[in-house]
Structure formats: structure tokens, C-alpha cells
Subunit: 229 residues, 2 copies
DNA sequence: ATTGACAGATTGTATGACAATATGGGAGAA
DNA sequence: TTCTCCCATATTGTCATACAATCTGTCAAT
């Protein structure tokens, strides 16, 4: 490389950023149930920060669609219903096709290699333990190499929102072999540098996932769920 | 309609919401230049609110990608460079195709009628005066009727970000006749209830707009722009 | 002209305060 | 008993203030 990168990242600090990230993780990894009310005072104590800071972080997460806020009732974790899930998966289908296509077209050979390695790792029992994290690694490489950061941001947002449907990931466990086969086909198309095929396979992959989610919703129908007081 | 809507919207209040909206409009409609530094104290005075509230609003807009924040240097209006513009238009192309396709498939006859009316209005000299608002009306109907709110949210975000490139809209003025012709073709396809065609035409329309923007960027090349101190 | 240090300005975070609104519970009526 | 109304309490919405951390521009010294 011609010039060395001497940049020192200062963004590691910024307490607010840390708070936002922590809260986001807490929501995504299930520390709070969807629909659960978030009480400011409690969160302040748990995080050891002031209300000022907490409320700024909440605003950020609200803009990301992870929490909703009813005036004078307080924020609560967003709830994804069947309709919204359908819509999200439809959009994901378009965007992941775009990402896959872009990756096959623009990624460096090294990125393609790393994608293949990541896929191999997904086959190991080690990955099966925490599939969520492992699969996120795969997507991270895909989004990094697709040559379009914007699509990455959008997909990350959408992904976070579907992650709120955590019961879904359980259903995915049984589908793991198929999932891996589909991902394998995608990587094959990428290695062959066939953008059109890669994009189509990505779209199909998301479509399959959407079916599973839809089925899950059909089962989990709760005719008259009582809000716990 | 079977049931009357007695809902009284309380969201009209919420000072924070108003502040956020005002700031967003101010940024989008050009009260601030892209890249301009936003000084908290000044904004507080101009808006007549406390720093607490202002900073919450800024967090929200930051999450929307309209402002960026460098720690201890303060927030500033986001700047879109050529690369990012390309990426945004690429994503828009996919999503507007999705919206157009969905509209042709799912919109009510009344919504189709309103879309046609809006297009007719766009031909009047009255609309030419403030094309920005008029065109937003067209998109609002499209997004409302496409049966997918999520794609609406995503496109709104993207649209806001390209609006930061206001010089672009000037370039569009000369392209107005073509624009109207393209929109006309889209509405035709929708009235014919041909989702596949409508989607393709939407994608083409965005692609054309992207070309214009790209050309504009090529002209506006500023080899060594000095940051004004 | 360059370096260095200092003063002022701005942001980052915390605290306390008070008004507005929501919530739960009890007193009283049917 | 059950329902209704009202109130005490809790929580949110917003503000003012304070202080530490950091940036920025200036001015002196070399």
C-alpha cells in the first residue's frame, strides 16, 4: 500500500454511542420482550447514566424503528405484526438481490475468498451453537463487498427489525441444511462472477425465509392476547 | 365505510416532534447548506427551546442520515458525494420498482384515479412553480397505494437524502417534459393493471434521473475546494 | 514563519425542578 | 357486589443550570 493510515478513531468513546449500542443489543438479543414498556428511571439506573443521555439514545433507536413512543406513556419495544413482517421481507428480497448482484460484480477476489471461508465455517458445529452471530458475519462480508454502503445501511435496519421476531430464528433451526445449501449456491454464483444469477438466488433465499416466517405467524396466532398489566 | 374514525390525534403536540419536523424541513428546503455546521446555542434561540430538546431532535435526524456528528465538533448537515448519490439512486431504483409493481397490483381504483389526477395537475403551470411539492404529492399516493409501508419509509429516507442535493433539482427543470412522459407511461401501465411493466418503468425512470444527477456531479467538480473558515 | 501555550467557545453529561398526563385504587352510589 | 368518579402517585415532557472535556483561534517567543 502506498500511504499508511494513521487515523486514530476517536469514536470509540462517546458515552452516548455506547449507550445507544448497548440498548440496541439488549433489544435485539432479547433482554426485553417486544412490546415491553421501557421505564426511563429503571434504564438510567441499570446503565448508570443520566436521563438526558438515555433520552437521546432512545430518540436514536426510535428513528431506527426499534422502539415506539406514545406521548406521556413512554417508549416500548416495537412489535412486528404479520403484515409488517411480510412487507419487510419483500423489501429485503429486492435489496439482498441488489447486494448479491453487486458483490458478484464488484467484490475483490479476497472478499470472495472470505465469503467462501465464512460459509465453510457455517457448516461446522461450532457455528451452529450461535448461528445468529455466525450468519451476521456472512452478511457483513456480503454488504462490505457489494460496493454499495447505502444498501448495507438499509438492510441492517431491516435485519434489526426482523430480529425482533426472535421466535422465528427457532423455526429456522430446522431449516439449517436448506439454508446452507442456498447460501452455497449463492457463493457458487459469486465465484463464477455471475451477477444476474447471484442476485436471483439471493432473492429466492429471502423468499424462502419469508415463507417460514409467514408459517410461524400462522401458528402463533393469539386470538385474544391480554396485555399483562 | 363501516366504522367512523373517532381517533383524536394527540401526536400533533409533542414539542419535540414539532422541533424535529421543523429542523428536517429547514434542512431539506435549504435553510442550511450541506456541510454547514449547526451550532446548538443558535438553534436553541432560533427555535425558542431548550438544549435538551434540541439535542434529542438532532439525535433523531442523525439517525435519519440528514446530519452527521463529529464528537466535540458538533453536528453539521450531511454532505452527499458522487459515490453516495450513485448508491442511493441504485437502491431507489429497486425500491421504486417494488412500489410501482405493488401499486399496479394492490391499489384501489380510487387510488389509481387520484394518481392520474395528480399527474394531470403536474402538467399545469401552477405545479411547475413548486415542482418539488407537487412531485411529492405524486409519490405520496404511490407509496400509500403500493400496499407496503416499509418500502414507503425506506424511500422517504432515501428521498430526503437526495433532496440534500438541491442543485440537482435545477438540472431537472430542463428534463420536465421527459419526466412527465415517463410518469405518464407509468400511470398507463398501472391503469392497465400491469405490475411487471409498471415496475420496470419505475426503475427506468429512476435510472434516467440518476444519469442526470451523475452528469451534474461531473460538471460541479471542484478540484480543490477550500473549506470556508 | 513556526511553535507553543493560553483563553474563550462549544460540546458532552449530570442534576434538579416543575408542569402535564397517565395509572391504579379507594370512596361512594346503584 | 359492581360500577363510577375522583384523587394520590408515578412517569413523562421540558427547562435551566452547572461543570468537565475538547476544540479553536490568538498571541507571544523563538
Amino acid at each position: 500500500m502506498s500511504t499508511m493510515d494513521l487515523h486514530i478513531p476517536r469514536e470509540v468513546s462517546s458515552l452516548r454511542q455506547q449507550v445507544t449500542d448497548r440498548l440496541r443489543d439488549a433489544i435485539l438479543y432479547g433482554a426485553f420482550e417486544p412490546g415491553q414498556k421501557l421505564v426511563e428511571r429503571e434504564l438510567c439506573e441499570q446503565l448508570g447514566i443520566s436521563r438526558t443521555l438515555l433520552r437521546e439514545a432512545l430518540q436514536h433507536l426510535q428513528a431506527e424503528g426499534l422502539i415506539v413512543n406514545v406521548p406521556h406513556k413512554g417508549p416500548s419495544v416495537a412489535v412486528i405484526d404479520a403484515q409488517e413482517a411480510r412487507e419487510i421481507y419483500q423489501v429485503r428480497q429486492s435489496l439482498e438481490a441488489l447486494a448479491g448482484e453487486g458483490f458478484a460484480r464488484n467484490a475483490t477476489d479476497d472478499q470472495v475468498r472470505r465469503l467462501r471461508l465464512c460459509l465453510n465455517y457455517l457448516h461446522t458445529p461450532d457455528a451452529a451453537a450461535n448461528m445468529l452471530v455466525a450468519k451476521n458475519g456472512f452478511y457483513a462480508i456480503l454488504l462490505e463487498g457489494c460496493g454499495n454502503n447505502v444498501v448495507g445501511q438499509m438492510l441492517t435496519q431491516l435485519n434489526n427489525r426482523v430480529t425482533l421476531l426472535r421466535r422465528v430464528s427457532l423455526a429456522k433451526q430446522g431449516r439449517l441444511p436448506e439454508t446452507l445449501k442456498e447460501l452455497g449456491a449463492i457463493v457458487d454464483a459469486i465465484e463464477a462472477r455471475d451477477p444476474e444469477l447471484a442476485g436471483r438466488l439471493c432473492a429466492q433465499h429471502v423468499a424462502k425465509a419469508a415463507e417460514v416466517v409467514a408459517g410461524q405467524f400462522a401458528n402463533t396466532t393469539e386470538p385474544n392476547r391480554k396485555p399483562e398489566k
